[in-house]
């Protein structure tokens, strides 16, 4: 099924989504990958975080974009960084599982309703998606130019001092195509494929490892 979705995303919209659905997303998404997840967790989820007033301002601004919003695991290729005339040239997803340690807490922090990435995530994120409700969207890995064309505007960038790939870029996107691979009903396409391929592997190598 193909479903059009706009940010901010309501719970009832999340509950309409099932594994296998194609979603055409329009609205605001914020990129965040390894440095962003670790930083947000350390500063704002860990009780010992003690963020500075400047960091609190960044968090509040991010919240305005991420509340009922979407975080995207992505480190884009951007031109015009020197002149701040940012142009997103290539913006495919990065591997999501590296954020598993932090993802559920970051989603709770901002009330994030969707994560876009590739490769899927683990049990913690899946459980949070069920509780929240929220979903995981899969973008096609490496489909960088195609996805960049859905980015119509760069609304801002945070933490550019981490470098272009790790910075948190705020994109206004139109008609970004993604596939639901983890839904709010506890179903994960990634778990299903892993289990089926495990069975095939055992058969091929004659073990039960």
């Amino acid at each position: 099924m193909q479903i059009e979705l706009h940010t901010p995303i309501a719970d009832e919209d999340v509950l309409r989504l099932h594994v296998g659905d194609t979603v055409i997303l329009t609205g605001i998404i914020v990129t965040g990958r390894d440095a962003a997840h670790q930083w947000l967790y350390k500063k704002f989820c860990d009780p010992a975080g003690d963020p500075s007033s400047e960091e609190k301002v960044i968090s509040e601004e991010l919240k305005s974009y991420l509340h009922r919003g979407v975080i995207y695991h992505c480190g884009p290729v951007v031109s015009g960084v020197d002149t701040r005339q940012y142009r997103i040239l290539a913006a495919g997803p990065t591997t999501s599982i590296r954020e598993e340690l932090y993802q559920a807490d970051i989603m709770r922090l901002f009330n994030i309703k969707g994560v876009i990435g590739k490769g899927g995530m683990g049990q913690n994120t899946l459980e949070y998606c069920q509780k929240s409700p929220a979903v995981y969207f899969h973008a096609v890995g490496g489909a960088a130019v195609l996805i960049a064309r859905s980015v119509k505007e760069v609304l801002g960038v945070y933490k550019l001092e981490w470098g272009v790939p790790e910075a948190m870029w705020v994109f206004r996107v139109e008609q970004l195509p993604v596939i639901v691979t983890m839904d709010a009903f506890g179903t994960s396409l990634h778990e299903q494929i892993r289990a089926a391929s495990k069975k095939a592997l055992d058969h091929l190598i004659g073990t039960n490892v």
């Binding site: 591997t95 890995g141 490496g142 596939i179």
Partner: protein, 291 residues
């Protein structure tokens, strides 16, 4: 003093990053034909091929992760290696400024991105060999971090896999590597496998085999049979494009056996994502040729 090749090497980087080699694209097209129309696997491959076309036409990186640039230089003895290295590094910085490469060199201690893809002596990665020829050839591979993360080295025998020190053990290790990678390495991918070596050379050679012609087979009959068997059995795992499930998980396997130590039997697997970016430039006199 030879002609400065900074611009020409930058062009090599541009082509490698933006223009996927034709044999790779051809494999992706055959993979598309094998998947069921309307399936997620079919849709993923269709998207990939559309992206490949767009990247080439607009001269934009085919994937945002332009990886660690890995150069293989074969230089004539009339040429100065120090000059070539400087020109390669200048070309990498230039290609980054021109957005053909994403700035990827990160200091692991401070987290600082150098901003121009120049790190220490190992970033970019440059391999040299002097040759008795007038020709300078530079091969470039761009391999993203997603597939780099799923590369793995096995030490046989491996009790978990019941894999012994023979080709059957190599087969088991390779299939396990594909299973462990699932869709994380951006399937459908390509496997570079080394049997033997020490830890370091085994990894290096598992990447070097990506320089082989996509259509060739190992000259060793047993290895060429194993290459085909691993590819075909990896596809029985059903992981499919992007791990969505499907018929195409691995498009090609290349194996090289190198001498090992009596005590060591390494099987090293490098996983190349579908965006198999590899190009060569050849320089004879003032003539520069790209392929």
């Amino acid at each position: 003093m030879n002609k400065d090749l900074t611009r020409e090497i930058c062009e090599l980087i541009r082509i490698t990053s933006t223009d996927l080699p034709e044999p790779v694209e051809k494999r992706l097209r055959s993979a598309l034909a094998r998947e069921v129309p309307g399936s997620a696997a079919h849709e993923a491959l269709r998207t990939i091929l559309e992206n490949v076309d767009l990247a080439r036409r607009n001269s934009i990186p085919v994937c945002q992760d332009t990886g660690v640039p890995v150069f293989y230089v074969r230089f004539p003895f009339t040429m100065n290696m120090v000059d070539i290295e400087r020109q390669i590094r200048d070309a990498v910085a230039l290609a980054t400024r021109e957005s053909y490469l994403r700035p990827n060199a990160v200091d692991p201690l401070t987290g600082t991105n150098s901003g121009n893809n120049l790190g220490d002596d190992h970033f970019p990665s440059i391999h040299y060999k002097q040759v008795e020829s007038d020709e300078l050839t530079i091969d470039l591979i761009l391999k993203g971090g997603g597939c780099e993360n799923v590369g793995v080295q096995y030490t046989l025998p491996d009790e978990r896999l019941k894999a012994g020190r023979d080709l059957e053990g190599v087969r088991k290790a390779a299939l396990d590597a594909v299973f462990q990678a699932q869709g994380q390495g951006c399937a459908p991918g390509f496997l570079g496998v080394t049997i033997g070596g020490d830890r370091e050379t085994s990894y290096a050679v598992s990447k070097e085999v990506f320089l082989r012609d996509l259509n060739d087979q190992s000259p060793d009959i047993n290895l060429s049979i194993l290459e085909e068997q691993i590819t075909s059995e990896a596809n029985m795992l059903g992981i499919g494009p992007m791990g969505f499930g499907g018929k195409s998980t691995i498009l090609e396997t290349k194996i090289k056996a190198i001498h090992r130590l009596p005590a060591c039997y390494f099987v090293t697997i490098s996983y190349m994502c579908w965006a198999y970016r590899r190009r060569r430039m050849t320089v004879v006199g003032d003539i520069v040729h790209y392929e």
